[in-house]
Symmetry: C2
Subunit: 576 residues, 2 copies
């Protein structure tokens, strides 16, 4: 590629809406442009990176026995009615009607389509296991698209679906995908963690997310360095060791005029927030439910959904408070609250010395004890772990880390195959449902995650495996005949070797060329400048380390060959 | 690929809705399945063919200096308002609203998005010419999707867009694409023709379509074998040499009770249909216009649109006839028809001995002469050529042939750049609009076109360049130890050479294996059967020619290497 003829519109300024490094740098370096909120176009260098990542994914998926297919973006409503997800998916699914008035969804995921394909075309145990994947465009109408490629509305995804005879087969397919995922993220140059995860709208019982640790990540993971427990904070457990105890004092009423928040009341009473009982009123399938958590924690709604066994709940809104005047907003408490089911976080089991609302305007109760003054209908894990909380397995303190979810794998079990009658005949001719798994990688999100882990203040630092080019040739004062010829010769020689190189053949100043090269982030750089005039040497620079070496042409090629060799070895071993 | 583990669900029966060979065979051979009307999924072998075609396209586009990008499917209405196409595109564009109520179209084509990208990022003559392309999913809500991949609603397309400083530059870009297209179709194994074409909803002045001749094609081309003139029938000209002449007789009224069609009247009067004047009433932008064509020809509405300078016209419908009672349906004629503009086909200039409606119920006129009895306001080319009509260039008889349009190239000129203000600064700092071109290839349609040109009654016959595999290894009676080992050894050896091979390792009868192999259409086949038991030879079969040869392993490899070599040579020369 000649830089003078390649469409790489670099920018000095960051786009106004770019809050994070990957978004900022990919736009500034001319890899990416925004078309509309959450909708992007990939320019030539961006397209190359996507293709290199896709190639790594294809290699690992094929090696793991998955077969590539191409499924449509437009999916008929009827299939989604069969799984029950047409209604359940809600406004996150983009929908349209065709000219005949038929409903379609733009695939946010492809379980229905693939299950329909397999049920119609596979009927014998001999054709199982089967694992089909695609790399294609997906759509999710995010409430708040942001962070560039991290939360886009149109994005590229690799999704795979496995079909097995039984649960054991499903576990083997899952394991193969899990391992392929690790190799993919490693080869893309990411450090990553696989953590236990919630299954959400996809469903199934067991799931892992692949997280790329990054400060800007919207997911949070609880990690134990002692026993290596790790899980998405949405479902990470922790041991309750901070349960407050009482001193046996009798419960007392306290006037708290106009004080409705934990902060106000705990400040006024001079009590630690963890001794306050936060009583959250939820409407669960139309009925009021009181959820109790310690005043210094929030309710974790993913955990709550599991406990309630439904997604259909919400915190009381204005009209709910009006419809249920028994519950006094700001003064609700568990004592004497007979009309609602009460669920409490584990940390309140046997707790004492508590304060809570008195279900009376401007009044709170103190010296409250669970078991004596109120008794929840049930206890459950309803709050999220924090750094320092004890690990649920070994009890050692955990830490919480932000990460970008780049992939997720699910054991779906029979969820779709039973709903959609995806059956096969076993060796004895008996009809059985297939055990399914599904496996996603956010391809364009992974590209952003790589940048989050590989950049500095000057620009991107691509890992060799996904870089848009291997070598960037910079001739300073390009118009000088000797230097230009040296650059052109080097360029031609690299092309003959089949290397991807970018030649900066623009008539720009050295400052502009170096700044753009730093921004673009190509791993190696060959600079033809003063050294060349002096003794014919070139300067080899490494973007990641900043290392520089003045080398003869022969030695430069030797070094670069070595770099490619060691990289190739790593790729074959799956380490890179 | 081991056939036992590859998802190739072949069918004995053709799908009920498959009217043409490519649709029938691609489904039967397990390349393709239908999800909904005009919406398909590509199974593993189908995906491979699409990828091989895409690769040829990428190679030729890159070689011609185009740069690959990825543009979004969802396009905001605002961009399409700027070009005026939001209203103009009509129901063929799939549209949706996002959760905030904003309008989007699913890109049927990307002129607006790319023009927006370029106007925002290119400002200097130094950055031109620029040619950007993508291979991506497109959507068109066809009135009547059919013929499998030939007229689908969701399909894969390669679209490129060129930006130049001036008209001359645009012509050069156009020429480079035109030539690349020829190489692409040839390399995909197609015979093709480039013909002059209409520009339709895309716009611009000059356009060529690339046609793959095939009986099932929905397009028709007029061809002159003498001077090699060729054009889409939509706009192909022809010389008028059959104009009927009169004998100077006076015009006469004839009673034609209840006869309204050309057939009825010409039969009753004993006159050739070409002497009947067909008087078609159109409503053009709200006003009636009479279009006169010879009774044995139809009006060509693409030509009519050019002449009228608008797309807003239609043949009178029931309510139009009611609103204009002056015009008597079935008896309209040009004589005395003062209230409408009259446009006549060239073949009626100076014609005589004609018959036409008398604008009076149950009456026609005979011995009518143009110029004496009626005088159209203008003459134009309004009818389509037929086989035998004289070439507009050399006058020799032409023939009309059906073809599949697999690509089209357009000189857009300033249509989009002026509407959307896509300007650049020239060497003197003056602001000028860019000259654009656009260039499309229907990738999945091309796959079907290849099959239309390469099949027989038993199945597909893939050209080497796009085949899902190079060699199909068939061991008959696979369970026989010697044969199985020979097949496995051959398979391994091919894989080591980096060849794409399919090993039929299923325990099926020879009949089933041969029938499936014919259906799948892999170019070469190595059969391990009786010959192997006798003297260790294998049978090499060529799918296209049916040629068979008993060869030793060494000779088999030699032959295959030769085939690959000659194929590679052709690819480099652009002949294949």
């Amino acid at each position: 590629m000649r830089q003078s003829r390649t469409f790489i519109p670099t920018l000095r300024e960051s786009p106004a809406d770019a809050e994070i490094a990957s978004h900022r740098l990919l736009v500034r370096a001319g890899y990416l442009r925004k078309v509309a909120s959450g909708i992007y176009e990939f320019l030539p260098l961006g397209t190359r990176v996507v293709q290199r990542i896709s190639r790594i994914i294809r290699e690992e998926m094929n090696a793991a026995g998955a077969q590539e297919v191409m499924l449509p973006i437009m999916q008929p409503r009827e299939l989604w009615e069969e799984s029950g997800r047409w209604a359940k998916y809600g406004p996150e699914m983009m929908r349209l009607k065709d000219r005949a008035g038929r409903d379609f969804g733009l695939g946010p995921t492809h379980e229905e389509v693939i299950t329909d394909l397999v049920r119609n075309n596979v009927s014998s145990y001999r054709d199982l296991p089967l694992n089909l994947y695609q790399i294609g465009t997906k759509f999710r109408d995010e409430v708040r698209p942001r962070f560039g490629l991290l939360r886009a509305r149109e994005f590229l995804m690799k999704d795979a679906y496995s079909f097995d005879r039984d649960e054991e087969g499903m576990r083997l397919s899952y394991k193969a995908m899990y391992e392929a995922y690790g190799r993919i993220f490693t080869r893309c140059g990411c450090t990553w963690r696989a953590v236990e995860a919630a299954t959400g709208l996809i469903g199934g019982d067991i799931s892992h997310e692949f997280m790329v640790p990054a400060e800007v990540g919207e997911d949070h993971i609880a990690l134990c360095d002692s026993c290596s427990y790790s899980a998405n904070l949405e479902l990470a457990g922790y041991r309750r060791t901070e349960t407050p105890r009482g001193e046996g004092k009798a419960m007392e009423r306290v006037s708290t005029p106009g004080m409705r928040t934990i902060e106000e009341v705990s400040g006024y009473l001079g009590m630690e927030p963890r001794r306050m009982v936060k009583c959250l009123m939820y409407l669960v399938e139309g009925k009021p439910v009181a959820v109790l958590v310690p005043g210094d924690r929030e309710a974790n709604e993913v955990k709550l959904a599991r406990v309630l066994g439904t997604d259909e709940f919400r915190l009381f809104n204005e009209s709910d408070w009006k419809e249920h005047p028994d519950y006094l907003q700001g003064f609700v408490g568990p004592v004497g609250l007979d009309s609602a089911e009460i669920i409490a976080d584990e940390s309140l089991r046997g707790a004492g010395g508590l304060a809570c609302g008195a279900n009376e305007r401007d009044v709170h109760l103190v010296h409250v004890e669970e078991g004596r003054d109120f008794r929840p209908h049930s206890f459950a894990d309803l709050t999220s772990a924090r750094t320092g909380d004890p690990c649920p397995r070994c009890g050692e303190p955990m830490r919480v880390e932000a990460g970008i979810e780049v992939g997720q794998v699910f054991q779906l079990g029979l969820k779709y195959s039973e709903a959609m009658r995806c059956y096969y005949h076993d060796e004895n001719g008996e009809v059985r449902p297939m055990y399914m798994g599904c496996y996603g990688i956010g391809v364009t999100r992974l590209m952003a995650a790589v940048v989050e882990q590989h950049h500095d203040e000057r620009g991107i630092i691509w890992p060799l495996s996904v870089a848009p080019a291997f070598l960037h040739i910079l001739a300073l004062d390009y118009q000088r005949e000797g230097r230009r010829k040296a650059a052109e010769d080097l360029y031609r020689e690299c092309l003959e070797k089949g290397w991807e190189v970018l030649l900066d053949d623009r008539e720009e100043s050295a400052g502009v060329k170096f700044a753009d090269a730093d921004l673009l982030g190509i791993p190696f750089r060959a600079v033809i400048g003063r050294g060349y005039d002096e003794d014919g040497t070139l300067e080899l620079q490494e973007r990641a380390t900043g290392q520089r070496a003045r080398l003869t042409r022969e030695n430069l090629f030797r070094r670069l060959e070595e770099a490619r060799e060691s990289f190739r070895d790593l790729a074959e071993r799956g380490d890179m």
